[in-house]
């Protein structure tokens, strides 16, 4: 497990090379996710949101880099830790927040909650809560693209804890056998709930499984959104060219507990702080200040704008109506 550094690292090249505009908008997108989740966390502790709430804070660069690497029409499938992808891919923050509140105006009408964000128009194909069971589903999306001869790539994300479960194996087996246009991305945030990698992985390098499936691999520690965009972009292109699937392992870290109920006592001493120094959001912020000449004041304004958006999202969720009682019978079957 790549241990973190004492002092902030020099800015990653991929970040340094990016334009001011790209860096600023990426920073804004990452900040939107963080502020959204901070607002959600507050609402949760105030009892306005219930159920499970899994925060993405610390991993935002992955969703933002992914969104930038996709083409319109491409599909993203992920786990219950799905807020980041929704916001990065363009879902409305108000609808996202309303879903957490279980309101009729939510992304899926309040029936799904935090774990089941789906926004088809934006390319977000969910939002699944049974570990690993979305991987065959994603392989099915890729199968359909091939069947219909559509130029669509499916990206499916999973946690480090999901790689041992059977459905992951079966999905990768079929993707390798059928050379499906799909990218399997492991967001290795070092823990599955309270369990560190050392108690879940027989081999530290998850991509060592690739050769068994005949699929390409890539593995790296996430430094910034542009790096993610480039590296995932290469895997997406490979899939688009008809060269089959790739298994990508991203080393990342979550700054919050597994879910709101987890105090995360299992971290090593200083572990959290050292990883905070690698926070891609902070890196982007440094780049804007040091390399692109933005001022603290400008960044404060940007932050205010984002915070206002999220305050409005919360207000929207608050004032939205709960679903009509009759709606619980909706969508059990397709109403023809």
């Amino acid at each position: 497990m790549s241990t973190a550094l004492e002092n902030p690292p020099p800015l990653p090249l991929t970040l340094v090379r990016a334009t001011s505009e790209d860096t600023e908008s990426a920073y804004r997108e990452m900040l939107r996710i963080r502020r959204f989740e901070e607002a959600a966390a507050r609402a949760y502790t105030q009892g306005r949101i219930s159920g499970f709430l899994h925060l993405y804070i610390g991993q935002e660069a992955i969703a933002v880099g992914t969104a930038a690497a996709l083409r319109f029409g491409d599909r993203v499938v992920t786990t219950y830790r799905d807020h980041g992808f929704a916001l990065a891919m363009g879902s409305d923050a108000g609808q996202c927040m309303a879903e957490l509140y279980g309101k009729a105006t939510g992304l899926v009408g309040g029936v799904g909650g935090s774990m089941h964000y789906f926004d088809r128009a934006k390319g977000l194909w969910g939002g699944y809560a049974i570990v690993g069971n979305h991987l065959p589903i994603a392989a099915g999306h890729a199968f359909a693209a091939r069947y219909k001869n559509e130029d669509i790539v499916t990206l499916v994300f999973m946690g480090d804890g999901a790689v041992g479960i059977g459905p992951a194996h079966e999905a990768m087996t079929l993707a390798g056998l059928w050379k499906l246009p799909i990218v399997f991305v492991v967001e290795n945030n070092r823990y599955s709930m309270g369990t560190p990698l050392s108690r879940t992985l027989p081999v530290e390098d998850i991509t060592a499984r690739g050769p068994g499936y005949g699929i390409a691999t890539d593995r790296f520690a996430v430094t910034d959104n542009f790096q993610v965009q480039d590296r995932l972009g290469a895997a997406i292109d490979r899939a688009r060219r008809g060269e089959g699937a790739t298994l990508v392992e991203l080393l990342t870290y979550r700054f919050r507990g597994h879910s709101m109920s987890d105090p995360a006592k299992y971290r090593g001493p200083g572990e959290l702080d050292s990883f905070r120094q690698l926070d891609p959001l902070e890196a982007a912020r440094c780049a804007l200040l040091n390399n692109h000449g933005l001022t603290e004041a400008q960044l404060d304004t940007l932050d205010d704008e984002v915070s206002d958006e999220m305050a409005e999202a919360s207000a929207f969720a608050e004032r939205s109506p709960v679903p009509d009682p009759s709606h619980r019978f909706r969508n059990v079957y397709v109403e023809e």
Binding site: G106, L107, V108, G109, V111, G112, H116, F118, D119, R120, W125, G126, G127, Y128, I130, N133, L135, P136, I137, A138, A139, G140, H141, A142, F143, A144, A145, Y147, K148, G166, P167, E170, A171, T173, L174, L177, R330, N331, V332, Y333, V334, E336
Partner: protein
């Protein structure tokens, strides 16, 4: 009308629908080059090719999930389980993805998929290969569940299942694939959710489906021979259930027996008994009885298997009992 086997009726239904809709495809183990473990897809690979008749490795969770994921994209997969016993390793995909995706996405996605294959006991296959999944899938909201007993019903209902916008679990039987029956040349559909009176009678209502249908007709014959006129209702669909057909008959006969292949506890049979006593309590002249498997794993030995599975004689005894023929 030509007379064909159930396996041919199933094949014809799939062929018709695949010709009609390019989004319909068949996937499973041995469905293509082998023409199906029970030859239900004979000739389909030849006609439609490997793109639409897809042989898979032995990964039920994998190909069930691929089917579901492809259905979300507008395809209409037919997933064959070599037998439904093997759906147990794909259970999560069926109950948590197929059954719930339309609901949990707020209606953004549909899952028009058919899971089909033989269900319940065949002959001397032992405990793991002789299980009925009627109650297990019948109990899951979001699924539709069909169980057929004749070539005519098999073709008409499978075509409807393939066109249905919802996930449909479609039960067949190794023991019935060779059963013959008349099937019209011309196109027809049988709506899901409609029972069929396979024999009309006035004294006792015998409710059944799947492998229970022939069993029940035989039992009805025995009863006829001593003057009890039995009405045999083939449910054909377990979910949604044609409650009206059941209740209409019971209100006429005031007596009912449920006969099926499966275990008794929390069974579809229990559900039907519950329904009848709740909705027709004052019409009942006798308790409703069930005839089904003994509540035990199926043994391989032929004599033990035959003792575990309901016989016409056993069903007949229950008919006599509800008719108080022995008083």
């Amino acid at each position: 009308m030509p007379t064909i086997q159930i396996r041919e009726a199933i094949r014809d239904a799939m062929r018709d629908e695949m010709r009609r809709d390019p989004n319909v495809y068949l996937m499973g183990e041995e469905v293509g080059h082998y023409n199906g473990a029970y030859k239900c897809s004979d000739g389909l690979l030849e006609e439609f090719g490997e793109r639409r008749v897809v042989d898979t490795p032995i990964v039920e969770t994998g190909f069930a999930g691929v089917g579901i994921g492809s259905a979300m994209c507008g395809l209409r997969p037919i997933i064959e389980f070599m037998t439904f016993n093997f759906s147990a390793v794909a259970f999560d995909q069926i109950i948590n993805n197929a059954a719930k995706i339309h609901h949990m996405t707020g209606g953004q996605f549909k899952v028009p998929i058919v899971f089909r294959g033989p269900n319940a006991a065949a002959h001397m296959l032992g405990s793991t290969h002789s299980q009925a999944f009627d109650a297990i899938y019948g109990g899951i909201p979001g699924l539709k569940v069909v169980s057929v007993a004749t070539p005519y019903d098999a073709k008409g209902l499978l075509k409807s299942a393939i066109r249905d916008e919802n996930p449909v679990v479609f039960f067949e039987s190794e023991l019935m694939y060779s059963n013959k029956g008349e099937v019209p040349e011309e196109e027809y559909l049988i709506p899901i959710g409609l029972a069929d009176i396979k024999r009309s009678g006035k004294d006792v209502t015998l409710i059944t489906w799947g492998q229970g249908v022939q069993l029940s007709l035989n039992a009805a014959e025995l009863a006829q021979s001593d003057g009890i006129d039995v009405e045999v209702i083939d449910l054909r669909t377990l979910r949604p259930m044609d409650e009206g057909a059941i209740l209409r008959s019971v209100r006429k006969t005031h007596r009912a027996v449920v006969a099926f292949h499966g275990w008794p506890f929390a069974s579809v049979g229990s559900h039907i008994v519950d329904l009848i006593q709740r909705e027709a309590f004052d019409d009942l002249d006798a308790p409703v009885l069930k005839e089904c498997y003994d509540d035990i794993p199926m043994a391989y030995a032929e004599n033990l298997e035959n003792l575990t599975i309901p016989t016409p004689e056993r069903v007949y005894a229950s008919i006599r009992s509800v008719a108080y023929a022995d008083h």
